[in-house]
């Protein structure tokens, strides 16, 4: 039985007239168990592989091998399917004209591997159609409580409009989670990240096809270790208060604010997808009406809920004080994640400016990113930034754009921009 705990980190002391309360809430899960074995429903897994012409023979072979590796990692009893995608989507396994899934067992695993081996490269790329088919396939098994897909692409979404992709993403949001991976350097980080973010998944670059299999195996292993099918973050704020934002800040930065659905007039629910044994941090910001010195009130109740069941809960408080020693203290956790969120934005905006040829903005933003990465101790980000800029002074954020940059390094910096490090205790 999964066990959730929560802890809150904040400075609850506000100065006279202060209104904004920031807190980091850490939610920890242990004993999650394995996907589909919690007794609350079945697990489903769909592997979506790009088989467009640009993949080429070698690319498709590597993708097929990776898909086979992934199939090996899907637990027996888990419902699954394989979709091959180009400018339209086909159900590669089970071999059927209608959407359908089967349960994993040694026989279906081998049959699926055989089907995947027959992949060939052909046609264009229209990822929206792949997502829509995955949604229809998952919908054929009503007992599924946990639905996860991995999506592999190698190129731009050339064969459908951005609007069509947006509509497809909207159509399947909330139906399943999807981790996305791009192989090579011909795909668009923004496009694929959009899918991953909406579908509560991750995005990353796999520079070379031979690295696919390991990555797929890891993704499926992670998915199979998520025994909690679905949980929601709930945030209660007092009447008259404004929830400024709700963000996941670790392991990655994801703004959840717009994903709110109302539980009641004062409580919002934010989907967090499935959980394994892991820890996630959330940054909650609430604006209150200021109260008098010495008064205390609750700024938020932050809870994790599985269905209607609240499994962990913490309180965010506000206490008005005229003691500057208390009110000026900055919570190191809040400061750390505020910096990490800005770091993600600085990297993405810097790279976008660089791509648009705006060297001045790119230099400023990436310089700021270097500074923030140093301040918040995000050494991985610093390492990735070094491949794109020459750092003159990381404390002041003085950098020069490198004259030649490996495309894959730039994309890796972009895809990893939202990855955060935890505060050093």
């Amino acid at each position: 039985m999964a066990n959730f705990t929560a802890a809150v980190y904040q400075n609850e002391f506000l100065p006279d007239g202060g209104t904004d309360v920031h807190a980091i809430v850490t939610v920890n899960c242990t004993g999650a168990g394995a996907a589909g074995q919690s007794g609350s429903g079945d697990a489903g897994e769909i592997i979506i592989v790009d088989t467009s012409g640009s993949m080429g023979k070698d690319g498709v072979q590597a993708a097929a091998y990776a898909a086979q590796t992934a199939l090996d990692q899907i637990l027996d009893g888990v419902w699954f399917a394989v979709i091959s995608g180009n400018d339209r989507a086909q159900l590669a396994f089970p071999p059927s004209a209608e959407p359908v899934m089967v349960k994993m067992d040694p026989y279906t695993r081998q049959a699926a591997k055989d089907a995947v081996a027959r992949f060939y490269a052909d046609g264009g790329t229209a990822m929206g159609t792949w997502l829509r088919l995955a949604g229809r396939v998952f919908a054929t098994v009503p007992t599924l409580s946990q639905k996860h897909a991995i999506l592999l692409t190698d190129g731009e979404n050339q064969h459908e409009t951005p609007e069509a992709l947006t509509q497809a993403i909207q159509a399947v949001t909330g139906q399943f989670q999807c981790d996305t991976r791009g192989v090579g350097v011909a795909w668009q980080v923004d496009e694929v990240r959009r899918i991953a973010q909406a579908l509560l998944g991750t995005v990353d670059i796999i520079p070379a096809p031979h690295q696919l299999a390991d990555e797929f195996a890891k993704l499926i292993q992670n998915a199979m270790a998520r025994g909690v099918a679905q949980a929601d973050l709930r945030v209660w704020a007092p009447q008259g208060a404004e929830v400024l934002f709700v963000r996941q800040v670790a392991p990655t930065v994801e703004d959840l604010t717009s994903r709110r659905t109302a539980v009641n007039a004062l409580t919002g629910s934010y989907p967090t997808g499935s959980w394994g044994d892991e820890s996630r941090d959330y940054h909650v910001a609430i604006r209150l009406a200021a109260k008098g010195i010495g008064q205390e009130q609750l700024a938020a109740r932050v809870q994790l809920a599985i269905g209607d069941q609240v499994v962990a809960s913490e309180l965010v408080k506000a206490l008005w004080s005229n003691d500057e020693a208390l009110t000026t203290r900055i919570s190191p956790e809040v400061a750390h994640y505020t910096g990490q969120t800005e770091l993600a934005e600085a990297i993405q905006e810097g790279l976008a400016a660089k791509a648009a040829g705006d060297t001045a903005t790119a230099t400023t933003k990436l310089g700021r990113a270097v500074q923030l990465a140093a301040q918040t101790g995000n050494e991985e980000a610093t390492t990735r930034l070094r491949k794109v800029v020459d750092i003159d002074d990381q404390d002041t954020g003085t950098v020069r754009l490198k004259r030649t940059v490996e495309k894959a390094d730039e994309m890796a910096l972009d895809t990893a921009s939202t990855k955060t490090t935890r505060i050093k205790k």
Partner: protein
């Protein structure tokens, strides 16, 4: 991550131990991280040390005082988030219209370790018993101990009603003896509320004033005070603090200077397991004219320590409150909070 280990107080440099919550010398909170940034804030407002005496355990009842909403199990309103008032944080007593007291958490401290217990006969100016105890915030459970002590002392004082026979001096001796017995009872109450293996045994100050048939006797252990402010004569401080500052004052150092020093709040006597001696030093006075009897904790006198200005403050506050003791005591508490409310505040008054 909140285990800041001090061996000296970061504020005044006085010696402190790991178990101390506040510096014994200057009152600085020793582990403010536990109540602020960078820590899980569950223990910040000491829900784990919820007092256990009856008045303290009153569960949050009834609708929220701010908005009328329901109080949640977490002690906050489910609608507006206001913290449910804890009775222990602010309470008042008025046994008779002419005698009243208010005991308040103040602003800076997370809980109210002051305590108040008073009793009075109905006839104005006849008989009143006022006890104030100030829990030492560097010790554990002082809020529980101080309230138990104040009540035990009041009960002893109430039970030993003199019958009005004998000379004035024998009556005075009888009251002094009862006051000492009351201090004994208060001390016993503190010990009863101290865990035997407490690393930091509960302790508190003690001050009691007894008015009976025109005689006023006050006694104290520690730095809580009693004053007599006659309407037309000079104000009288009935007690001398058992404190570092008072010892300095005795050597000729001006009060203001002594009481603003780093160890101003270090007391030299108290009630508790580790107390060297708890016999109250008493003062006896014959009441010859109308006036105010004030018994208070340092939460009030910190902001006005000299008898004369304090008398003026009480008189002016009383005048503004229409001479009503409860309203006056409440207004004096508000005044102390307006000065910063650095400590718990207790004000008990009898209009004689």
């Amino acid at each position: 991550m909140t285990s800041t280990t001090h061996t000296v107080c970061p504020s005044c440099g006085g010696p402190v131990s790991d178990a101390d919550r506040y510096c014994e010398a200057c009152g600085t909170e020793l582990n403010p991280a536990a109540a602020g940034a960078g820590s899980p804030n569950t223990p910040a407002l000491d829900t784990d040390t919820e007092p256990t005496v009856e008045i303290n355990t009153a569960p949050p009842v009834g609708p929220c005082v701010s908005c009328g909403g329901t109080i949640g199990a977490d002690g906050y309103c489910e609608t507006c988030g206001a913290k449910a008032a804890k009775v222990r944080d602010h309470f008042s007593e008025q046994p008779s219209p002419w005698v009243a007291g208010v005991c308040d958490r103040g602003i800076r401290h997370a809980r109210n370790e002051d305590a108040l217990a008073i009793a009075a006969d109905a006839e104005p100016g006849s008989r009143a018993l006022l006890v104030v105890c100030d829990g030492v915030s560097s010790s554990l459970d002082s809020d529980v101990a101080s309230l138990a002590a104040a009540r035990a002392a009041r009960d002893v004082l109430t039970a030993g009603h003199a019958q009005g026979i004998g000379t004035e001096s024998s009556r005075a001796s009888a009251i002094v003896a009862r006051l000492k017995a009351a201090a004994d009872a208060a001390s016993d109450a503190v010990l009863e509320n101290t865990s035997p293996d407490s690393p930091n045994p509960a302790s508190c100050t003690f001050v009691a004033a007894v008015l009976e048939n025109g005689l006023l006797v006050a006694g104290n252990v520690g730095d809580s005070r009693a004053y007599w402010f006659p309407d037309n004569s000079a104000p009288v401080a009935l007690t001398v603090d058992d404190s570092w500052a008072a010892e300095l004052i005795a050597t000729g150092i001006p009060r203001e200077q002594a009481e603003s020093g780093p160890h101003a709040h270090a007391i030299t006597r108290w009630l508790g397991k580790d107390a060297p001696d708890h016999t109250p030093r008493t003062t006896t006075l014959k009441v010859a004219e109308p006036g105010w009897l004030l018994v208070c904790s340092d939460g009030l006198w910190n902001y006005c320590s000299e008898a004369a200005p304090l008398a003026d403050l009480v008189r002016q506050t009383a005048a503004a409150a229409g001479g009503e003791p409860l309203a006056t005591a409440a207004a004096l508490v508000d005044w102390a909070n307006a000065q910063g409310g650095q400590d718990n505040i207790t004000v008990a008054l009898a209009r004689i």
